[in-house]
């Protein structure tokens, strides 16, 4: 179906990709604006209250900085404040964290790699294992292997924080197979040494396993359903009729069935990141999620805003990568430009 490659507005593949990029840029701008508007328009004036609480607890310069960032008592028009806010952002200035007393951008750049490493590896591993399992269970549909469906459905419904806590209880606290919490042996100091890297890997095993376990079932169920649908397509029957081996037929069907999973990748990255913020809370792991919860608890609004921007921009970037991957994988989006 050549018409598949052209969307309802008659756009070709590359144009569609550019449209997606435009939407993400618009979303990024919306996020920035929401960040600007929320603290100014919320009922009860949260910033005013915060400044009241902070009087005498932090330096006057700090209070002046917060006032400047949230436009308190400056008698500037909203528009002037907005332009000022955008200019600051363009220079990478996210303000100063109240509790940590250092620039938000410094705090974030020191912590983000823990999150990116853990969640990134977890997402990739669970996508590949889940999709492979989905191919297998789609192939064996209608057999006894179907019992995995209700089991996977249950696993998918288990809240992440519950799964993580139970894993800690069984494998770390009771069986002592894994270290309890943290990201590395507390007796070591961060450096480029083998002992340190080995310790990071060792401490990462259980958090990683919990991420993979919790998101595995979704990929598996989605892929299985697509396999079931794809296997009744004519081209699969054709492959069987040509006498191809089972494995080749399976590969043939799986390659076509995986496309919606890749398309869904963009949708689920946001969910995955949201859910995985909890991993740091449960395993006492450093990273952005831990910072976020602490920032909320301490009413550290500059840090909170910075984290929200960082997370949203990362998710938008990942979404665009997933869209581009879809463009590469589905030949129909590319051949369209030739016609």
């Amino acid at each position: 179906m050549a018409s598949n490659s052209i969307d309802e507005k008659g756009n070709h593949g590359v144009t569609t990709l550019l449209r997606r990029l435009a939407i993400y840029l618009f979303t990024a701008w919306t996020t920035i604006t929401v960040n600007f508007v929320l603290p100014r328009l919320m009922p009860g004036d949260p910033i005013q209250q915060l400044i009241g609480k902070l009087q005498g607890r932090v330096t006057p310069e700090m209070i002046a900085a917060i006032k400047a960032q949230f436009g308190q008592g400056l008698n500037q028009s909203m528009w002037t404040q907005y332009v000022h806010y955008l200019t600051q952002l363009l220079h990478g200035d996210l303000g100063v964290s109240i509790t940590l007393s250092s620039p938000v951008s410094d705090v974030l750049s020191s912590q983000i790699w823990w999150t990116v490493g853990l969640i990134g590896v977890g997402a990739v591993v669970s996508f590949f294992i889940g999709t492979a399992l989905g191919v297998f269970f789609g192939w064996t549909r209608g057999s006894r292997a179907d019992v995995v469906i209700p089991a996977a459905t249950f696993l998918q419904s288990v809240p992440y924080y519950f799964l993580g806590t139970i894993l800690i209880m069984i494998f770390a606290a009771t069986l002592h197979w894994f270290p309890l919490m943290g990201a590395y042996d507390p007796t070591l100091s961060p450096e480029w040494s083998w002992t340190y890297i080995a310790s990071v890997l060792r401490y990462g095993e259980l958090p990683l396993a919990s991420i993979v376990l919790s998101s595995l079932a979704g990929w598996m169920l989605g892929m299985r359903n697509m396999m079931v649908t794809t296997m009744s397509e004519d081209f699969v029957l054709m492959a069987v009729a040509k006498g191809l081996s089972r494995r080749r037929v399976m590969w043939h069907a799986a390659r076509n069935a995986v496309l919606p999973s890749v398309a869904n990748l963009a949708l689920t990255i946001g969910l995955l990141v949201s859910g995985s913020l909890l991993v740091e809370q449960i395993f006492n792991y450093p990273g952005v999620g831990n910072l976020l919860v602490n920032a909320v608890g301490n009413e550290d609004y500059p840090l909170l805003q910075g984290i929200f921007l960082l997370i949203t921009f990362t998710v938008l970037g990942a979404n665009f990568l997933a869209d581009a991957l879809y463009y590469v994988l589905d030949p129909r989006t590319r051949t369209a430009a030739v016609h």
């Binding site: 939407i23 960040n35 057999s143 288990v158 809240p159 209880m169 649908t229 969910l271 949201s274």
Partner: protein, 315 residues
């Protein structure tokens, strides 16, 4: 509607039964709770017994009472958020899909923006700016959850509306001169029902999960009992390290069961929409009874429908 096969699949029946039990508990839970969930007068850390079915916490509170009382708040927030979000997505999806043009461009952009912004961080940010009184109010939290959870349903409904818009029966009522809202409501609307139902279940699932997550993180009022706050107190008292499984397991399993029941019902709706999945949902014994081969064959996915021929004679 004799083709309505939904309630017959065993998955759907199990799902409806589990959900039914929790709906009943939502209504009567706080009345049948044996003790006051806040009373900390019991011996701490009791394992399950006849006096305390699910044991007691480190703080000397009865776990079963907390579970029963917490059921109501959790479920009510989930259902309110799910209903409101689904109403928004119906309005946006139908309008965008049917009217097309500028309306569609604008509404689709809005939905895409909400889809791309990660929901939980947005929720945490909005929640943290709310006045303390509103944070404690489950209704307000439910509405904020609805605000972050409608976009997925709107997108699916828009796509389906667009595919229905140019069908003959819709064209016919346009020619008759029916009003626009009437076509949307009584011609297109009924054909969207399975998708609306699936979207409602999905959104309730999302809302229950997200509300419990917020509560687990201690971002709602921690003295209002819901399943998330139970986990919050268990976590902050290191129940996992002390191996107090009876304290951790009930709220987690309860949330998972509600989620499973909604997903099982959703399976039924999926099989209703996509008949090819239907045969795949049969057990080996059922396959034999309706006269299908034991193992499914490639290229042939049988579609089951009411047959006038006795299947026993065919096989």
């Amino acid at each position: 509607m004799k083709s309505l096969r939904i309630p017959r699949s065993p998955k759907v029946i199990v799902g409806l039964i589990i959900l039914g039990i929790f709906v009943v508990l939502t209504v009567i839970g706080p009345w049948i709770a044996p003790y006051d969930p806040n009373a900390n007068t019991f011996i701490p850390n009791l394992t399950p017994s006849w006096e305390h079915w699910f044991g007691t916490t480190t703080l000397g509170q009865d776990v079963l009472s907390q579970l029963l009382v917490g059921c109501r708040v959790t479920m009510v927030v989930g259902f309110i958020a799910g209903l409101v979000a689904t109403l928004i997505s119906i309005a946006v999806g139908l309008a965008a899909g049917y009217m097309g043009g500028r309306t569609d461009e604008g509404l689709s952009l809005l939905a895409n923006v909400f889809l791309a912004i990660p929901g939980l961080p947005l929720l945490i940010v909005i929640n943290s700016y709310l006045p303390a009184g509103s944070q404690a109010n489950p209704l307000v939290v439910g509405l904020v959850i609805a605000l972050t959870g409608w976009a997925w349903g709107a997108r699916v409904l828009r796509a389906q509306t667009m595919s229905l818009r140019d069908r003959d029966f819709v064209e016919a009522s346009r020619i008759i001169g029916e009003k626009r809202w009437r076509i949307m409501w009584s011609e297109i609307g009924p054909n969207l029902l399975p998708i609306i139902a699936a979207s409602l279940l999905f959104t309730i699932l999302y809302a229950v999960g997200v509300y419990s997550t917020l509560a687990f993180l201690g971002l709602t009022n921690v003295s209002t009992w819901n399943w998330g706050t139970m986990m919050y107190w268990a976590q902050s008292n290191n129940a996992a390290l002390a191996n107090e499984w009876w304290w951790l397991a009930p709220p987690g399993v309860a949330i998972a069961l509600v989620g499973t029941s909604l997903a099982l019902i959703n399976f039924g709706i999926d099989e209703f929409i996509n008949p090819r999945l239907r045969a795949a949902g049969l057990s080996a014994r059922q396959r034999r009874r309706v006269g299908l081969a034991r193992r499914p064959r490639l290229g042939f996915t049988p579609v089951l429908r009411q047959s006038t021929v006795d299947p026993k004679k065919v096989s």
